[in-house]
Structure formats: structure tokens, C-alpha cells
């Protein structure tokens, strides 16, 4: 289950039921949490094909934006955003509402 946005949850559940359990979620999918206006971990090293899911655990909305690469909708408390990295490279990202919040995904 790669996406857990509230809106997409139902779709994701159905997709998971239709797919074999082993492909519903890759073993090396990664998580980033937002706590106290900080991305944790701030830097993540992953392999191509990995899906990263960000979860906002603050009482304030945040976003995840990497210029020209990916951009989440506004995530309210407990909302999630997922992105699958298919190309190697360094992906700097930040919260467009609180730009002092920055993070990095290194894909090899």
C-alpha cells in the first residue's frame, strides 16, 4: 500500500486486495515523519524504485516540495504523501509553507 492519503485510502485498500501481498508493498519502502517542524530522518539513502512516504505528525499543515521533481498537496495532521523514486540522484526538498524545513533523499 503505497498511498495512504485519506482520499485515496479506499482505492489503496482495494488495490492491495487485488494484488499479491508481496507486491502490495515493497520491502524497502521508506518513511519520513514530520515532527516539530523537522523532517526525520533529514537525509535518506535509498535505491531506485523505492517509495518514500511522508507523514505529517504536527498540528500545523506542511508540504513536501522538490523543485521540478515532486510536490505534495497541503498535508494536514496525519496526512501522508508518497513518491516513488525511479531515477538516481540527489533530491533536495522543503516545506513550501515553512521553508526553513529542508530534507534530502539520495537515490542510487
Amino acid at each position: 500500500m503505497k498511498t495512504l492519503n485519506r482520499r485515496d485510502f479506499g482505492v489503496a485498500v482495494i488495490a492491495a486486495m487485488l494484488l499479491p501481498a508481496t507486491t502490495a508493498r515493497a520491502a524497502d519502502d521508506m518513511e519520513v515523519h514530520i515532527d516539530n517542524f523537522v523532517f526525520q530522518p533529514a537525509e535518506l539513502k535509498i535505491k531506485t524504485g523505492t517509495t518514500v512516504t511522508w507523514t505529517n505528525r504536527d498540528d500545523i499543515p506542511h508540504t513536501v516540495v522538490s523543485a521540478g521533481k515532486f510536490r505534495s498537496k497541503t498535508m494536514d495532521t496525519d496526512d501522508k504523501f508518497s513518491f516513488t523514486f525511479t531515477n538516481a540522484g540527489d533530491y533536495k526538498y522543503f516545506c513550501s509553507l515553512h521553508p526553513h524545513m529542508t530534507g534530502m533523499i539520495k537515490v542510487e
Binding site: 516539530n36 517542524f37 523537522v38 504536527d58 498540528d59 500545523i60 499543515p61 516540495v65 523543485a67 498537496k73 497541503t74 494536514d76 495532521t77 533536495k92 526538498y93 522543503f94 513550501s96 509553507l97 515553512h98 521553508p99 526553513h100 529542508t102
Partner: protein, 314 residues
Amino acid sequence: MSGHDHGDDGVSRRKVLECMTWAGTGVLWTVTGGVPRSLGIIDSAQAATAAAPGMTFLQISDSHVGFDKPANPNALGTLEEAVNKINAMPAKPSFMIHTGDITHLSKAAEFDNADRIISQSKLDVHYVPGEHDFLDEEVKFYRERYGRGTKGQGWYSFDAGGVHFIGLVNVVDLKAGGLGNLGAEQLAWLEDDLRGKSQSTPIVLFAHIPLWTVYPEWGWGTEDGGRALEYVKGFGSVTVLNGHIHQVMQKVEGNVTFHTARSTAFPQPAPGAAPSPGPMKVEDAKLRSMLGVASVNFKQNEQRLAIIDTPLQG
């Protein structure tokens, strides 16, 4: 605070600055030649304002309509309390400015609810957006409601009571790792807007994020705010009014007075006093002492400007 002298030279600047930052209740400030003086506690201050001729306007900020987290489960309710407080003021203000974060998530219903409550003040309201007002997918709700007649992302100026007011937008196109942002287009407009103005014209700049650097570690400042302040440097009386940090903070530099207003929704911690600038949960009994509005009085003949911060309670 009640011991402060109401006379001419009763309070040292150091003492005043202490009071400004830490006063738990509202204090009236007057500015003469760029140096503010305390005129006393809130009740006598209000009385002085009520008796004084000149123009009074209100600042309301960070109403975050739609916020329902533990720090204040009913932000719409405390906004209504603030408006009731405004309606009960002894002298009716000329108008109101709202320094942004009207809503929490830029939902149409949040804007509608905010407008329903704020309009009960029956005052003209001049808005600038906060970052929470530009969150809808098409970024259109704020502009449809408040953007008419404005330039660029929503900046504008107007004159009232002999004062030149400038509403700026510093919540758009923020850069990774940076602070608030005005941008080249807006700065060029500002320079042009001020061109030809007499330097004796009192200037009020208002924007959501502080134009001065309060605490960069939490993003509390504006990357190119210094550029805007360069343009107003030559003016005899400049007042900069901001929100965003949900607490009263003031500083004076030359002829420029910087002031931030309380939120009507929830308090935020003092700089560095908590792990993050997020909503601060306080005892229920204490919440309303940390929310409120500001009123600003300008007397043309005496060239002084006074800011009163009024908490919802206490």
C-alpha cells in the same frame, strides 16, 4: 505596569522595551521621535484613546478559522470573542487591518465563516494573506475575496487619516532554507509607491510574516525585508505591523517601530522556548490572556502613534 508615569519623560527606553516584550496585559505605547513611551495600563490607555482626537484603527491577526486542535478546539469562537471585544470598545475604530492566516487550510467554508464573524464588526477590513490563506489547489479563494484592486500577489496601498498604509505579501514563492519573501516585483512597486511622498507622511507597513528578523531558526523573518525598510528609512514615522508569530513583540530602530500582534486562535512559544513554533497548549484558564487584538491610535498634530494590545481576557 500601573506605576508608569503618564508624564513626559517618566520611563527609560530600556524599561519600556522590557515592558513591551513581557507585559502580560495590554499597554499603551506612544511614539515621539521614534522612541516609544508607555502611557500606562490598558484601562487608562483605553480611556486616553477614547478621549483623544485622531484616528484609531485595529489590527487583528492569525484567526486560523478551521483550526480545531488541542491548543484551541474552537478558533472560530475566540475570533467571535475578539470581534465582540472590538464592538465593545469605547471609541469606534476607523477600520481594521487583518495581517493574515484568516483561515487554517484555505477552505471555502473557512473563508465564509471568517467573513461571517469579522463582518459583525461592521468595519472596513484591509487584508494581507498569510501562508495558510494560499493553500487551496487553484490558490483562488483568497484572491476572489480580498484580491480585487490589488497588485501582483495581493499588495496595495491606501491613505487614511493622513497616514500612508502599505499592505505587503511575503508568503509566496518561499525559497528552500529561507524566510518570508517579498520578491523583486513587489519591492520595485514599493519603491515606486513611496516616490514623491513627503518624508513627514507617517507610514504604516503591514504584512503577515515579520519584516524584521525575529528568529530565523523558526523562519520568523523576511529574507528581503531589509530592502523594504531601506525604502522607508527617510520617513519620520514608520510603523511595521505583522502577525505570524502569535505573540506580542516590539522593537524600535531609529524612526521605525516594529510590532507583532497576538493571534485570535492559539498562542505560539517565545523564540527557542519550545522544540518547534507549533501551537502551544496552555491551561484553558490562561488561553484568553494569550489571544487578542491590537488597536493603533494616530494623532496628527502630536505626531505620535500608540499601540494598545488587548487580550481577550485578563
